[in-house]
Symmetry: C2
Subunit: 351 residues, 2 copies
């Protein structure tokens, strides 16, 4: 296997016999069949992934990948680029949304700098894996060269290798990068062969004239890139981000190592689609956490045939939507594992 094609290696096997046993258990629990809705499917999926009828999540982990985006020079974000590093500081200090959710759920949180524009070597607790100091302005040129893209994919894969060694049993990828909804919009437009404007929303706070300017910049970027793109990786290289590439690599490696993935919002789902395009079996290791308020998210979820667990109008990133959905998964497993069967409770069955 060459270094360029590690992502094509097979994903971990999923136990169909345990899936059947978990489905049978669901039918025996003291409730009408199907009455716990999607919670039943979640519990059955984890049973099959873990190879045990009563699955448990003991070591969930979230890795936030950060990177900056050259395209912000075109005025596509409401926040200055300095915020990327300021937020890394906030993540490790415990003040960000994902930090709070990690504490709330006793979830490991790691922060990986894939390439901020402003160096932050001194920031204790941040894993430094800088591929380049932010991507190039993709409205003018490719965001990354091939070597940089491959390195960023490996940054994500490497984190999953670490987590696998530590016993992680659920993986959430988060992201931070001013301008990264722009990258996700352009990437989605290329992967889905759709108009980028139909996929472009306010991100973290554009409206009115600023939003229409963002849409013009992104339309021009996609127009520039489209003739150069014939593969998913070429799309990533042209208009992606370092953190998007790292998330893609993380998802691919998670599926290979048999760690279920809980996908976050729009940017995470663009990486998820990329991962599935590179290795379709990766889809079988994915659950989707939340439906983002970003319009492009719906289009990505449809292509992935995915229904997220919660719809709360969130649009924050960081892995926060998936972090919220983790609570639902834990409830699904508690119900599946803890409820009595009809036989145990001596309950009469339906007519």
């Amino acid at each position: 296997m060459t270094v360029e094609t590690w992502w094509q290696a097979p994903t971990a096997e999923i136990s169909e016999s345990i899936r059947q046993q978990a489905l049978e258990r669901q039918l025996q629990l003291t409730k009408p069949p199907g009455s716990l809705g999607e919670l039943e499917q979640v519990a059955v999926a984890f049973a099959a992934w873990q190879g045990q009828v009563k699955a448990e999540i003991r070591q969930p982990a979230c890795v936030v990948f950060a990177g900056d985006h050259g395209v912000v020079a075109q005025g596509v974000s409401a926040f200055p680029q300095a915020v990327t590093v300021e937020m890394l500081k906030n993540f490790v200090a415990g003040g960000a949304a994902i930090s709070v959710l990690a504490r709330h759920h006793d979830m490991q949180l790691a922060v990986v700098n894939c390439g901020t524009a402003i160096p932050c070597d001194e920031l204790e607790g941040v894993i430094q894996r800088v591929v380049m100091p932010g991507t190039r302005d993709f409205s003018q040129q490719a965001a990354m060269n091939e070597a940089q893209m491959l390195a960023a994919l490996r940054v994500g894969a490497e984190q999953l290798e670490r987590l696998h060694g530590e016993g992680c049993d659920l993986f959430i990828a988060g992201e931070m990068g001013i301008g990264n909804t722009s990258a996700a919009s352009c990437l989605s437009a290329l992967l889905l062969a759709q108009d980028v404007n139909a996929l472009t929303g306010p991100g973290t706070g554009m409206a009115g004239q600023a939003l229409s300017h963002k849409q013009q910049v992104l339309a021009a970027s996609v127009e520039r890139a489209r003739p150069l793109v014939t593969t998913p990786l070429e799309a990533l290289q042209q208009v992606g981000g370092l953190e998007v590439a790292a998330m893609t690599g993380a998802y691919l490696r998670a599926a290979q190592l048999g760690i279920p993935v809980l996908v976050d919002g729009f940017i995470a789902t663009s990486a998820a689609l990329l991962a599935v395009r590179l290795n379709p079996a990766v889809r079988d290791w994915m659950l989707f956490g939340h439906q983002s308020a970003e319009p492009g998210h719906r289009a990505l979820l449809e292509v992935l045939n995915a229904r997220p667990l919660v719809q709360l109008g969130m649009r924050l990133g960081e892995g926060s939507g998936a972090g919220v959905a983790l609570a639902i998964i834990r409830e699904a497993l508690a119900l599946h594992n803890g409820m009595a069967t009809f036989a145990e409770a001596a309950i009469s069955s339906a007519d």
Copy 2:
């Protein structure tokens, strides 16, 4: 105040100044404004209810009210009536879905027998408040007389008085009663002045011919009752259930005592609408847990201008949908209370 009109007493006051302070805090947290979607509104609502900017839920409680329904003689349920008492046993033994969720969330669970067809006096842990041994068959006559209905309302109110004394800070009403989706459908049809068939679903497992028979029985029941009904309480008396009346009384008393209510699914929401019709200010103390798969639920939620926190295709009752949604509320409060402000984290603001 006469015993008949206790429910018209004013509801507890809600602090508008604390609501404003909580809204301001949300704007200062390290995230784009509004990016936590409905989680922000949930946290602000609890702040206003508790009168403190950082609200907490320390003592959530669920009371499951049980009652039987004479209309099951017409073959409107897939399960035999014996299941009502069998499930009460399961609730107190810890094997039911709501029992598991109560353990999972460290939530108090109480089970109140408002009137099962089969006595269960020997069942340890069940609070016995039997008004009558199940309602009469409402396809033929009023489900209850006025005194029975008033007594059932008080059964619910009394539970809230107990919980208030114990320091309860979030209330969930659950229900158990074979046939009670039929009662909720007829009650909704009368309260909403809609066709009962548009509101009638499979309940816990009717399909095909059995479902169309259920629909015929319910249409005839509503036709019988409609000329006799001019007030919400007359609707309850004609086609309601003992547990539905108890839930109604519970919601009314919760709002009077200043305990926020997390409403469960279709049957609970029919009681919630009844409570709001009896005392409109009760609505201000309600959050809605989940969107049930039952078609009538959507119509009730619309009239109540309510958007439930989760949509997971559940249709179990017992308070289970609200029990699942409790996790989302706890996350909303953790984020609101635990995140850093822009000033605390020294983050640059938007352009």
